[in-house]
Amino acid sequence: MIALVLRDLRRAYASGGATLIVAFFLLVAILFPFAVGPDQKLLARIGGGVIWAAALLAALLPVERLVAPDLDSGTLDQLALRGFSATTVAAAKIAAHWLAFAPPLMAATIAAAGLLDLPGEALLTVEIGLALGTPGLAALAVATGALVAGLRGAGAIAGLVMLPLAIPLLIFGAGAIEGGAGGLKLLAATSLLLVAGAPFIAGAAIRAGTE
């Protein structure tokens, strides 16, 4: 299991995936001040929501590379032959995806908060929210990646599958900035539900894909 996590993590960094995610996240965060204008008060008010939307899009970015390459290369077959259940493989992929994108993203959030003129306490709430919510995003991304692996136009379909399911995370994540602890608890509950359910959904999708 640890060997699987390390392999996926190494692949994520080796293919430039993690750097790409951070660059994409910062670009989206930079885009908003250009779109809504340099009104400091407005930016500070919507900043937390912008960071959450950017984090969601950044988590979606590598979705095609999470499961499909291993399906094509026969890696999933060889793992199944060695007695790894598809659920275990999916859980390892979720852990690796989270480790690959969440820590760099949370570091980049400090820079994004500067760009959006987000006040200090709001930044702290956003960071706590991201720490709670990103495991849910990672779980959702791996489940989506497993569901669309092997389909044509997988990237577009992945967006259609994943974005609606991520709305609760977005609502509670952005809501926590004003709602405080109550919002964070709901965010953590949603994230936990996704992390607990996704390995089984992704595992079933992987099994269906390898047959």
Partner: protein, 192 residues
């Protein structure tokens, strides 16, 4: 090693089309089964059924001993060196001394010179040999080989035949699907 692979009334269907049915055969230690037939007749599906990756439409497959699979997809990370890519799999096998097993397999397949070369730079035949090196390194008693001679030159085919013979002499089992002639001494043969 004590190994056994038994098919009992196995049928295989893909997308609602029956590929073969009523396949019964038992392989004891040291035996080999050669599966031949034209393209698309279900040779690869039979290998996947034997590996437990594809549930049979009917019948049952029993096995004693670990299985190793050589399939069309090579399952090696392209950016890693041959030795590192094989090492990843060797460490996942339930056997001691992964480095020594990989080194021995590389030696047996004349791949030592390629040990530090990234997998993505290998030719088709070299890739095939590295895939076979994983089977060898796993030390599994049951070998499931899907078109093992594809892309191999004459010398490599001869080495493959010698390694399979050696494996059987030590009590191993080989199930080989091929459309090319392979010299396996007194192997059972099924034509699908």
């Amino acid at each position: 090693m004590s190994a056994r692979l038994a098919f009992d009334g196995v049928a295989c269907a893909r997308r609602g089309r029956t590929l073969f049915e009523g396949l019964s055969s038992t392989l004891e230690a040291g035996e080999a089964l050669l599966v031949t037939g034209p393209n698309g007749v279900g040779k690869s599906s039979l290998i996947r059924v034997a590996a437990g990756l594809l549930p049979p439409a009917a019948g049952i497959v029993r096995h004693e001993g670990a299985r190793a699979l050589l399939a069309e997809a090579v399952a090696l990370d392209g950016e890693r060196s041959v030795a590192a890519a094989l090492g990843f799999w060797a460490r996942l096998d339930d056997r001691p001394a992964p480095e020594a097993r990989v080194a021995a397999a590389l030696d047996a397949l004349d791949l030592v010179a390629l040990a530090d070369v990234p997998v993505r730079l290998l030719s088709t035949g070299q890739r095939r040999r590295v895939g076979f090196a994983r089977v060898l390194a796993s030390e599994a008693p049951i070998w499931l080989l899907d078109e093992p001679a594809n892309g191999l030159d004459a010398a490599a085919v001869a080495r493959l035949e010698a390694l399979v013979a050696d494996h059987r002499a030590r009590g191993g089992i080989a199930l080989v699907a091929t459309h090319q002639p392979l010299a396996l001494a007194d192997a059972w043969e099924i034509r699908l």
